[in-house]
């Protein structure tokens, strides 16, 4: 489905793909504040997610990329109705899920939006075998009548490639890859409309990661759900997603379509942090190889960087959160505008919006 993406076809195709897919899930102005006790009596309030707007369309594979601590996991848990936001709404077929009563949430919202957890081992109750866990998922999902439970358990397991004898195994007898597949199987149990996967690749090695992502895409073609992939791995997001939202310190700094990596200039990232991410990724693959050759590059890179990457711990920072490490801010002589006004997401290219007061050209 997403196989043959070279620059031209996708660029042309992006528009009409957007038009016919219906809006599935929308987040408007999501804010989440935690207060953390630093010392006795002194507590510091942290803005983990700061006014995030997101749109998920049917058949979409939306990637949310950012450093650990940039609030992407918190955003994921707010999208799946697990963590009520301090402000803002999450709209599923026209209704804000956080205003619905418990019963409707349990009957309609839960089966529609499913989450795959970061640590698959922790998401399984160690006290009973996997089959029992799936049985509860199916019963609560409400899609299967009780006498067909056994068949649908083995069907689900077979769908993700696990033999049905695994139903008797306990969670700690499974390998990392198998637990990931079980996570997917558990999410599919209620025929969801949206699946939010929080770091589904952590703990897997390169080959297994590919197989799990292939399984995700295969299930998506079969069951037509929208997939939101939360990850810190820009490579994988480029290989799988058709849209990406780059997050930094709780804010979406750039939302753009994903196009093949050897990008024509107009498809490259525009926000300094996103550019930095992509550059670091490429340097990992190409730059480091000539390690001893361009040694100058590494040391010069480290020296100029005032690098204390803020970990989203800055409470509502005035102005742009990235200016502490932003080369454009330094290049333009630390403009005061960056320090006062919070940059809003503005459309700087077709389907690409960037949260920065200035652009590469200035």
């Amino acid at each position: 489905m997403l196989g043959d993406r070279d620059v031209t076809s996708l660029a042309g195709g992006t528009e009409e793909r957007e038009a016919n897919t219906t809006l599935v899930l929308e987040a408007r102005g999501l804010v989440r504040q935690f207060n953390r006790r630093v010392r006795f009596g002194v507590s510091e309030s942290i803005l983990a997610v700061d006014h995030v707007d997101l749109v998920v369309r049917g058949g979409d594979v939306l990637g949310i990329v950012g450093a650990s601590g940039s609030g992407k996991s918190t955003l994921a848990r707010m999208l799946t109705c697990l963590l009520p936001p301090s402000a803002g709404q999450v709209i599923l077929n026209g209704r804000d899920v956080y205003t619905l009563d418990k019963e409707t949430v349990r009957r309609e919202v839960r089966p529609a939006i499913r989450m795959i957890f970061q640590d698959p081992d922790a998401a399984l109750n160690p006290a009973y075998p996997i089959g029992e866990g799936l049985r509860r998922a199916l019963m609560l999902g409400g899609r299967v009548s009780s006498e067909h439970i056994d068949e649908s358990i083995s069907k689900l397991l077979a769908e993700v490639g696990l033999p049905s004898s695994y139903a008797f195994k306990y969670p700690d007898e499974l390998s990392g890859g198998e637990k990931r597949r079980l996570g997917i199987c558990r999410a599919l149990s209620s025929d969801p409309v949206v699946i939010v996967a929080d770091e589904p690749l952590s703990g897997l090695d390169v080959v297994l990661q590919e197989r799990v992502l292939a399984l995700f895409l295969h299930e998506q073609t079969v069951r037509q759900f929208a997939l939101v992939l939360v990850s810190h791995d820009l490579d994988r997001v480029h290989q799988v997603c058709n849209r990406v939202a780059v997050m930094f310190a709780g804010r979406v700094v750039e939302s753009a379509p994903v196009v093949a990596p050897q990008l024509a200039p107009e498809f490259r990232y525009r926000h300094p942090y996103a550019i930095e991410l992509a550059a670091a990724k490429d340097r990992l693959h190409y730059g480091l190889q000539g390690r001893s050759a361009d040694h100058r590059h590494t040391s010069e890179f480290a020296a100029t960087r005032e690098f204390g990457t803020p970990t989203g711990t800055t409470s509502r920072m005035k102005g742009c959160a990235y200016r502490g490490a932003c080369p454009r801010y330094v290049r333009l002589g630390r403009p005061s505008h960056c320090a006062e006004a919070v940059p809003e997401l503005t459309e700087q290219a077709p389907h690409r919006s960037v949260a920065c007061h200035f652009s590469e050209a200035d």
């Binding site: 697990l82 839960r110 499913r114 922790a122 399984l124 109750n125 075998p129 089959g131 049905s164 008797f168």
Partner: protein, 407 residues
């Protein structure tokens, strides 16, 4: 698609493990013994706690005694010595008994010497003692003799009868003091023999078990019914009221438990139910904080959020996912320990001679056994105590095997 029938409850097809079986058998024996004791207890006449002749036959055949004899006198019941009305030791007939410091043993054994040494409270001057012992048919018996100077009664009964004994002490100023009691001469075989007062030890143990094990269930129920929910709720929902309750109960815990139980016993006039309720309250905090810590440990695990993501209600997550599936073994162990601790508390009270002799208690049997150093009493009582402790440690292990993962 291979058709696979998975038994919905995944550990259904598993036979009951051996240890569990032995625990259950022991428990069944205890309960049966208690029910038997309760039936006989119910039958007792108001003055003496004793067996009606028909019941003696039942016990004797049950205990395999070789000679069952119907006593001729239907009303003459086989005195057991735990007199449930009036103070211990005094017989019901004579108010002057209060003058005598000691009390005569109500039972004599055929072929075994019977002695009694009265002690007058104000015996300033010399007294002359005389005794009359008349059996039901009004005949004077010859075997009971008294030493005129010291008043010591001695003799060895030959024939099993019921005697009315009158011991009179005449002082030289003409005042006479009288002690009168009903003496039962018994020749039946007793499985565990008798204690120093001729009382049947087996009967005492049976009686004691009934008054120790059954009421202990009240303590266990309090621990289970109040401790576990309190701990679970305050652990999961962290309610202010629940944690305040736990703070209060941990404060109560700082007062030595045995003292509280003894106090409750004394204030309630040794009403067993209240004592056991006090034991339950004393044992409550330990279980409550144990369960709370367990629930808090599991609450932080991700599978709780995963269960919430499935749409499970908080209650079901707490009681099914955490307390039942992950906490049941801990709770069974804790309740079994509380049950054993309740029995031990009651036995300790008896052993420390804190309870009055009205309530038959294993502790008192041990106490008497200790004082007179009668192994015949000590050994069976200890074995019974170890039986109770053993039973309550086997049961949780049996559950562990049943609920554990199949190997």
């Amino acid at each position: 698609m291979t058709k696979l029938i998975i038994p919905t409850a995944f550990n259904k097809r598993r036979r009951i493990p051996a240890r569990m079986l032995s625990g259950l058998v022991l428990l069944a024996m205890l309960i049966a013994a208690n029910i038997a004791a309760y039936i006989f207890h119910h039958e007792r006449s108001d003055s003496y706690l004793c067996l009606a002749p028909s019941h003696i036959a039942i016990i004797r055949t049950a205990l395999g005694a070789e000679r069952a004899r119907e006593s001729s006198d239907a009303t003459a019941s086989f005195a057991f010595g735990f007199n449930c009305s009036g103070d211990a030791g005094s017989d019901a007939s004579d108010s002057s008994a209060r003058l005598f410091g000691t009390s005569p043993a109500p039972i004599a054994r055929v072929g075994r010497p019977y002695t009694y040494r009265p002690s007058l409270i104000q015996s300033g001057n010399t007294d002359r003692w005389s005794v009359e012992a008349i059996d039901a048919a009004g005949r004077e018996t010859g075997w009971l003799a008294v030493d005129p100077q010291s008043g010591v009664l001695t003799g060895t009964p030959l024939v099993p009868t019921t005697l009315d004994v009158r011991l009179t002490a005449k002082s030289d100023d003409g005042r006479a003091r009288l002690q009168q009691w009903k003496l039962y001469v018994d020749d039946r075989f007793l499985l565990l023999g008798t204690d120093n007062n001729g009382r049947d030890v087996a009967r005492a143990l049976l009686e004691a078990m009934q008054s120790t094990v059954l009421p202990a269930t009240i303590a266990a129920l309090i621990v289970l019914g109040v401790g576990v929910p309190l701990g679970a709720l305050s652990g999961f929902f962290g309610g202010r009221a629940a944690s305040l309750l736990i703070a209060i109960s941990s404060a109560v815990q700082s007062i030595p438990g045995i003292l509280l139980i003894a106090l409750a016993g004394r204030l309630s006039g040794w009403n067993l139910l209240l004592i056991m309720a006090a034991v339950g309250v004393v044992l409550l905090p330990e279980t409550a904080s144990g369960v709370r810590e367990l629930v808090e440990r599991f609450k932080r695990r991700d599978f709780v959020e995963a269960a919430r993501e499935l749409g499970m209600s908080d209650n079901r997550i707490l009681w099914d996912e955490i307390v039942w599936h992950n906490g049941r073994q801990f709770i069974v162990e804790r309740v079994a320990q509380s049950y054993a601790a309740a029995v031990l508390a009651e036995v300790t009270l008896g052993f420390l001679d804190l309870t009055d002799s009205l309530t038959p208690s294993l502790g008192r049997v041990l106490l008497v056994g200790r004082e007179v150093n009668a192994p015949a009493m000590l050994v069976p009582a200890l074995l019974l105590l170890l039986l109770v402790i053993g039973c309550f440690s086997l049961l949780p292990r049996g559950f562990a095997e049943l609920w554990g993962r199949p190997r």
